[in-house]
Every structure is written in C-alpha cells, then in structure tokens.
C-alpha cells in the first residue's frame, strides 16, 4: 500500500541552522517517531531501529536511512526502508525543501511517499493512511520543537 502526503512548517530559525539540524543524526533520531537507535555509517547513510506502535500492534523495524539529492541549505531527500519481520516492511521518503521566510525564519516544505508491504498491508488497510500521516506529522512537529528549543537533543 502506498500513500503520499505533503505539508509545510514555519521554523523560527535561519536556513543554515535548519539545514544543520536536518543533517544531524542525533536530531533525526529524536524526531523520527519511535526511533530506538540511529547509527551513522557515513555522512549520508545511517542504520535505524524504529518501534512502531499502533494501538495493540507494535512492531520493530530495522533498516537503513539515507540522505539523497543533497543541495546544501536548499533541499534533500531523506529515504528509508525497514524490515519489520513478520509484520512486513516499510519504505518511504520525504523530499524536503527550504525557503527563506520572513524575519529570519525558514519555510520547510515536505512531500512524503510511503509504501508498506506484508502483513501490515494485508491487514491494516483501514489504518495505513492515518498512521503514515500521524508519523509524518509527529516527525515535523518534533523537528519544530527542536528548532524552537522546546525539545532538547543532546
């Protein structure tokens, strides 16, 4: 099953700061919902373990996260795929683009695509859109919190 969604958030920090945070594995780990570990293999490649919990369902996904199409301080694509064992697999990515906003702020635009397969696709059809949306929302909410300083990453 695949789904797409997009949105934008306004961040009270200049582009350079936002870009730096977008490339900081510690920040990403803090923002990815359910992220249990994120280990860097190279400046653009990471290994991740993420626990996804949807009501009574909980599944642990292990996989890779990669930063692609990098145009510094302008845009990149964050791409990930994970295997959740018996639950199936998930693949997805977000194209993220930054624009200068007013008063030294930054507008962040995102286009998310996600695909799931295996048991979660076979049984979870009614929930997949909602869950994907919630995870994307949570990620950018967390990220906003990092930028505003409401969430401390250290």
């Amino acid at each position: 099953m695949s789904m797409t969604m997009n949105g934008e958030v306004q961040l009270p920090a200049p582009r350079a700061v936002v870009w730096e945070k977008l490339n900081d594995p510690k920040v990403l780990a803090a923002c990815i919902p359910g992220c249990e570990s994120l280990e860097q293999d190279s400046p653009t490649e990471m290994r991740a373990a993420v626990k996804v919990k949807v009501g009574p369902v909980s599944a642990r996904f292990k996989g890779r996260v990669e930063l692609q199409n990098i145009v510094p301080e302008v845009s990149y694509r964050i791409q990930g795929e994970g295997e959740g064992g018996i639950a199936g697999f998930a693949k997805g990515g977000a194209d993220v683009r930054l624009e200068d906003g007013d008063f030294g702020s930054t507008k962040l635009f995102y286009d998310v695509q996600a695909t799931v397969g295996g048991k979660i696709a076979q049984l979870g059809g009614r929930l997949i859109n909602s869950v994907a949306k919630k995870n994307a929302d949570d990620f950018f909410q967390n990220f906003t919190a990092v930028i505003t300083g409401d969430k401390i990453v250290g």
């Binding site: 695949s2 018996i86 397969g117 295996g118 696709a121 076979q122």
Partner: protein, 788 residues
C-alpha cells in the same frame, strides 16, 4: 414409488455427522508422530532471491527440518503444471514459465513459497520461520490486467514476452465484421469482471505421510479430485509412482473450484514427509488462503453487439484480457478460453460471434476456475450487452430477450456449442410471473416517493456443464479425459457400496447418488453407501467441478447399475431355472413372466455369492460391476434470474428486495439439494456484484487479505430467494440431468448489475457495486428523487 428415489427431497445422509460435530475434515486428522509445516512466504510481489539463510532457524527449538527450492530441485521434484494447452491465433503454443513448488531464484507474487519450516509444534514452526533470513532484490511489479501486456511492463516470466501467455481467438472474424458493417444499431460496452477470492470456509490443509516399510506415500488433503491430484503428483511432479501414492480427500468443507488444483503446499508436505521421516501437517490460515488460493475471474472486456432493424442480434464481437496471475495454475489456461467464449451466444440465436482473448501474467496470485469458471464471465458480457442494447433501442428487456431467444433444438452456435434442448421462453414467462414484473412500475413509484431508486434486472443465462466428450476436449488442448467412473459393489446380503470418482464437498452425493441406486435397485436408501475420496478404495476418477457429478458421475453409476442388473438377471434366471429374457426387474424384484417365480434383489445377491445354484463355468460368482462413462456432449442448463433492488441514494446502500430464479436443470434427483445449490450460487453472484472486491495495490500487495476488508456475503446482505424450475431433460445422458452447481453464480452478477443500472438510469458502474460506488453513481442519476 419409493420415498427415497429420484425426484424426492430426501433429507441428507451426510448431515448427521456434520450437525453433531462428527465430520472428519483434514485438520481433524492427526497422524502418530506428526510434525507441523509453516511456509516462509514472499512479502514482495516481484523479487530476486539473493540468499536464504536457514542456520539460525534450523537451530531453533523443535525444528525438524527446513527445506527450500534447492532441495526440491536436487530431489528432481518437478514444477506444478497447467494441464490445458492453449494455442495462440498464430498457432504457437502458450508461453508458460516454470512453476516450482518452492521458489528457486525469483518470487512472483506476495505469498509465493520461499521455504518450509517443519517443527514439532506449529508454534515452534512459526517461531523458527521468523528466523529464516531471506535477502531479496525487489523489482517493480506488474499488477494491472488491462496494461500487463503493454511494452515496458515488468516481465513476470522471461518465457512470456510482454507478459503474454497467449493471444487466442474463436469464431469467424470476417463474417462477424460483415454483420457489424450491415448493422442498424451497434451497442458497445466496456466491462471489468472483478477478481474474486473463493473462500471455501474450510481452509486448505494437507498431511503427508511416508511409510518407510512399504515405500508408500499417503496424502490427506482438501481436494475436489483426489485421483487427479495423485496423477499430477505422480506423473508430472514425480513424487512417486501412482501405485505408491495414496491420496485421501476426507470431508472437504467447500471447494468452489479452489480445491481442484494441485498447489505447492500439498506437494511440499508429501515430499517433505520422506525427507524428515515424519508425517507433515499443514493447515492454511485465512490470510494465507487469500494470498495463495487460486483466485477467480479478473477480466477486462470490450464487447459489441450488432443488431438489425428488426431488433435481431446479428453479431457479437468481444475482446478480453484475462489475468492469469503469476503462474499458470492447474486449469488456468482453459478458463478464459474454452470455458468462456463458447458461451457468448447465451440463449440467443446469434449467427456471428468472434472473440479474442489475451491471457496475461501479472505479479498476483494465480487465477483459475472459481464457481462457474469462464461461464459467469461470458454471461456477464452477453447479458449486460443484451440489456444495454434493449435500453438503447427503447425495448422492454424481457421482450427483447424473447425476441432473440433460440426456439428450435438442437441448435448449433457459431462458437462450438450444440445445444441439445431447452425452452427459454418458458423460463422467462414463469420468472416474469413469479417476480410480478407487471407490478414493478408501481413498486418503483412507491420507492421514488420514499426517496429511493428501484430497479429491476434480468439475466437469461446458459451454461455448459459436464465438459465432454473426452476426445473433443482433447482436441481443444485438455491434458486429461473428462469421463467419470463408478463401481457398484453388491454385498452378499444385498447392501450396496458405490465407489464413485466424483467427490462431494457440500453437494450431498452420499444422498443423491444413493437415491439413484435406491430408485434403480428398489432397495432402501439405508442399504446404500457412497464411497469417494480415496484413491486406494476407488478406481481412477476425475472428481467434482464444473457441475459434472450429476450429469457425468451419476451417468457412470447408472451405467454400472445396468450392468449389475444384467448380471443379477442372469443369476436370477439360473437360480429360478427360467430363460433370462422372461425376467422383469421392478422395485427390487426379479420376476419371471408367466410364472409365480420371483426373487428379491437381496436373495439374488446372496445366490450370486454363494454360487450354489448355477454353473460357475458359465456364470462368474459375485455381483460387482464397474463403468466408465464418457458423455456425448456438454449439458446446457439455462434459466432466467430477475433481481429487484432498492437504492438509498443518500448512502449508496443497495438492498436486494426480491430475487427470482427459474432454472431448467433437466431431471432433478433431489429438488431440495438442487435448490440449495441455486441459493448458494446466487449468494456468490450477489457477492461478486456488490460486495466482493479483491484489491492489489500498485506494488502488488494484496490489501484485501482478510474478512476485515474482503466482504463476504452475510445473512443480512441477502434476501430469501424465490426459486422455480422448468424441465427439459438433457437428451445426451441416460438420466436427463443437466447440472446445477454453478447456475446461481453464473446468472446473478448480470441480473444484479442490470437492476442497479436500471435503478440508476445509467450504465456507469463497475462490480463490485459497493455503497461508495453506488453513491457516486447515484449522483449522476437522471432520476429525480422526490425526497431531495
């Protein structure tokens, strides 16, 4: 007249065990020392297997063995086969890729079999299966039927370029085109015949059991045709020679076609039982059934009818793309070809028909016969076409049909079939009466007042049952003959065992077959036992599918019964010391004309076995006869179904208000059972038309893989059915039986969609007509709603 003979609604013999919980289904059987199999399946629709690592899994508690395609190949176990060769228009044979029971290099649909884990308990097998590491290189998938053959699509099998298995055709193209050139009116429609999941309530299951002492394999399995399973497992897959392979299909909880086929799981279980030196049991869970049981239908069709100025249909032109799935299942190739296009003449006198069918591979579950198999698809095409034509021409759909009905028999259609008999007008008239068609306008007006849309729809279907004769089907590409066998064993005290090659999985053979015996031999039904489903007991037979057990299976029994009576007559004549030709046999009594000598059937049986009173040099002792019956022709059940619906345009909910079915099945053995078959078929047809949708997403994930998303018809979705019968006995078999198992499923979808489109006032809706689809469609309905 006996109360248990032909034509009586005898209560079923088999019911006693089912209603008391004493049925014996495959999962109810346990073998000493049995182990449990769980399959590692592909989560991807299309991928290359880079590696399979079973080390950790093999060390898990309770694991007895883990087997993959490599071991299967090393043991020279052959792939699964498709038993019907179809040739393309250009004469080339169909292009089929290999179908190993366990994937070797590639997986081609979600659920494809990668490895089997065998353990002491099912939980242990499942636990260990999670430890099998499979590395995939995932490819894009081909999923969509209509575009699968377009250049540039991902290729499912290298052997079938552009995913095309065959481009088949039937009929006279030039003559048909000429009819269209001269037509006064042409009706054109585009249809999708939605993919269905059979969902017999008993999931498939298998137990493989290898006896090291005798070198014999026994397979208990959920099969509609255990002998065919043995033949394929033996001669093609190469498990063991037939004499070392016993297949038992005990009580089977519904089939609907899905249990005809020889699948990977039973193949693996029986092979593995020798590898692990223990019986191996596998029981499918429902999600696995959704993924891996052969699905049904899945056609995309453009159809046209040419109509002359008088309203006669002069030609039909059809172009269909049929999705065959990722591999060719056992009879997959025949379903959208010879079981489909030859039915496109329906009940109508149509001089010119031409049909082209492209069979395509996709990365989806294999598609094969499902209740009706090709005939529901054909009926949907012709009955939608005729209905739309009548509407376009402003004619009453019932009258327009009758105007085009075949009225003289035998009738040769332009697409193979020679209809032996029928009276289509009689069924239509009876159905119109039963449905109170005259009162429809008033009911429609009342609905409109309440803000509802009411519609009525017809389906005048024909089907071809009891595929035959064997020589003819052989010439069309069938890999087997389609006769049936029977053996009638009379015991010394006159009780009778009938061993039949047919297989009952809900049809009630233990009752209907016994009724025939009771009727012919004049003995109580309690003295008759029907034996089926065990290759060690029953002679080679072909099984049950295609509504063949009455027309073909019972004809074989009838033939064997005649031989028994002949032999018994000889014995009776010798015992009574009268000439054979003076003996009459009626109601179980052999009576010598012109004398007071008579013997009951049981006495003759005893005499045949004790052999005291005749010369055994001239008359063999014993009373047991066998027969193989090969039909002369198909049979052609037909009928008219009328659906009446009411739509709530606000929610899109369609309520089936009335259902009228008038069927002509020829001779009825047990009307109660026949009506039951009709009910079940209608329910499945209604399911197809408005409830059941199989959805694969673009990447080939099955997103309707449970009853949570695949809507099975429930009691509250359906009305009671009003069923009537007309009778024109079949002229080509001894009992006059036509077959009744699939009629409802064949007739119903077109009737219901015709009713819904009649209510909507336009043709723009596809199956399944779900509430959402109907709500959408109702928005563009030209009918004004009073309440709005």
């Amino acid at each position: 007249m006996s109360t248990s003979g032909i034509g009586q609604s005898v209560r079923r013999v088999e019911d006693i065990r089912f209603i008391t919980g004493n049925g014996n289904y495959t999962d109810d059987i346990s073998r000493p020392g049995q182990t449990y199999a769980f399959f590692v399946r592909s989560p991807h629709a299309h991928a290359t297997i880079k590696s399979i690592n079973t080390k950790t899994a093999a060390a898990a508690p309770g694991v007895v063995g883990i087997l993959t395609g490599k071991e299967l190949a090393a043991d020279k176990i052959g792939g699964l086969i498709c038993g019907w060769m179809i040739h393309s228009k250009d004469g080339s044979p169909m292009k089929a890729g290999a179908h190993p029971a366990l994937a070797v290099d590639k997986v081609r649909y979600v659920g494809d079999h990668v490895a089997v884990v065998i353990a002491e308990t099912l939980n242990q097998a499942r636990d260990a299966a999670e430890l099998v590491e499979v590395e995939y290189d995932v490819h894009a998938a081909t999923v969509d039927t209509a575009t699968a053959a377009k250049p540039g699509q991902p290729q499912v099998h290298a052997e079938a370029p552009n995913n095309t298995v065959y481009n088949w055709h039937i009929g006279e193209k030039d003559a048909t085109d000429a009819a269209f050139a001269k037509a006064a009116h042409v009706t054109k429609i585009d249809l999708i015949n939605n993919r269905l999941v059979p969902n017999a309530m008993e999931p498939r299951a298998a137990i493989g059991d290898y006896d090291r002492g005798t070198g014999t394999y026994t397979l208990f399995t959920t099969s509609q045709n255990p002998h065919v399973a043995r033949l394929v497992l033996s001669a093609f897959i190469g498990i063991a020679p037939e004499n070392k392979l016993r297949v038992i299909a005990p009580d089977v909880g519904g089939g609907f076609g899905s249990k005809i086929f020889i699948y990977a799981e039973e193949t693996v279980c029986i092979w593995a039982s020798k590898k692990v030196r223990r019986p191996v049991k596998w029981v499918c869970d429902r999600t696995e059934a959704f993924l891996c049981d052969a699905h049904g239908r899945d056609h995309v069709t453009h159809a046209e009818a040419a109509i002359d100025a008088s309203g006669k249909i002069t030609g039909v032109r059809v172009k269909t793309t049929a999705n065959l799935g990722a591999y060719l299942s056992t009879f997959a190739s025949s379903v959208p070809t010879y079981l489909y296009a030859p039915l496109l003449s329906g009940q109508y006198n149509i001089p010119n028909i031409y049909c082209e069918v492209d069979g395509v591979y996709t990365n989806t579950a294999p598609v094969d016969a499902y209740r009706g198999a090709g005939r529901p698809e054909a009926t949907f095409v012709i009955e939608r076409l005729v209905e739309v034509a009548a509407r376009e021409l402003g004619r009453d759909p019932a009258e327009f049909r009758m105007h085009n009905f075949i009225t003289t028999f035998p009738h040769q259609t332009p697409v193979i079939m020679a209809y032996d008999t029928g009276d289509y007008g009689a069924s239509m008239k009876m159905a119109l009466d039963m449905a109170d068609y005259k009162g429809f306008a008033a009911r429609k007006a009342a609905s409109a007042k309440a803000g509802k849309l009411r519609g009525v729809g017809f389906s005048a279907y024909i089907e071809a049952c009891g595929i035959a004769p064997s020589k003819a089907v052989g010439s069309l590409g069938a890999g087997v003959g389609l006769w049936e066998s029977a053996e009638v064993r009379v015991n010394p005290v006159g009780t009778v065992e009938v061993l039949t090659g047919s297989h009952s999985h809900g049809q009630g053979h233990e009752t209907t077959f016994a009724q025939l015996v009771s009727h012919r031999l004049g003995i109580p039904i309690e003295q008759v036992t029907i034996v089926h489903g065990d290759t060690d007991k029953v002679q080679m037979g072909m099984g049950t599918y295609g509504s063949r057990s009455g027309a073909v299976g019972m004809s074989a029994i009838q033939k064997a019964l005649e031989k028994v009576i002949k032999k018994a007559t000889t014995v009776a004549a010798a015992v009574m010391e009268v000439p054979e030709d003076t003996i009459d046999f009626n109601d179980g009594i052999f009576e010598a004309r012109g004398t007071n000598k008579k013997m009951a059937f049981g006495e003759v049986a005893l005499q045949a076995y004790v052999a005291h009173k005749f010369d055994s040099e001239k008359i063999e002792p014993g009373l047991k006869e066998g027969a193989f019956y090969d039909p002369k022709n198909f049979t052609f059940p037909s009928g008219v179904h009328i659906a009446e619906v009411e739509i709530d345009p606000e929610t899109g909910i369609t309520k089936v208000e009335k259902w009228t079915a008038v069927d002509d099945f020829g001779t009825l053995i047990n009307p109660m059972i026949v009506e039951g078959q009709v009910h079940g078929g209608i329910a499945q047809g209604i399911g197809q038309a408005m409830l059941e949708g199989t959805v694969y997403d673009k990447s080939g994930q099955l997103v309707t893989a449970s009853f949570m998303d695949y809507c099975m018809p429930r009691a509250h979705d359906l009305p009671s059915f009003n069923v009537g019968m007309t009778t024109t006995p079949c002229t080509t078999n001894p009992l006059g039986i036509k077959g009744c198992g699939e009629a409802g499923a064949i007739a119903a979808p077109a009737a219901l969609i015709n009713a819904i489109t009649n209510a909507l006032g336009h043709e723009n809706i596809a199956m399944p007509a779900t509430p959402q689809a109907v709500w959408q469609a109702a928005k563009s309905s030209p009918h004004k709603i009073a309440a709005e």
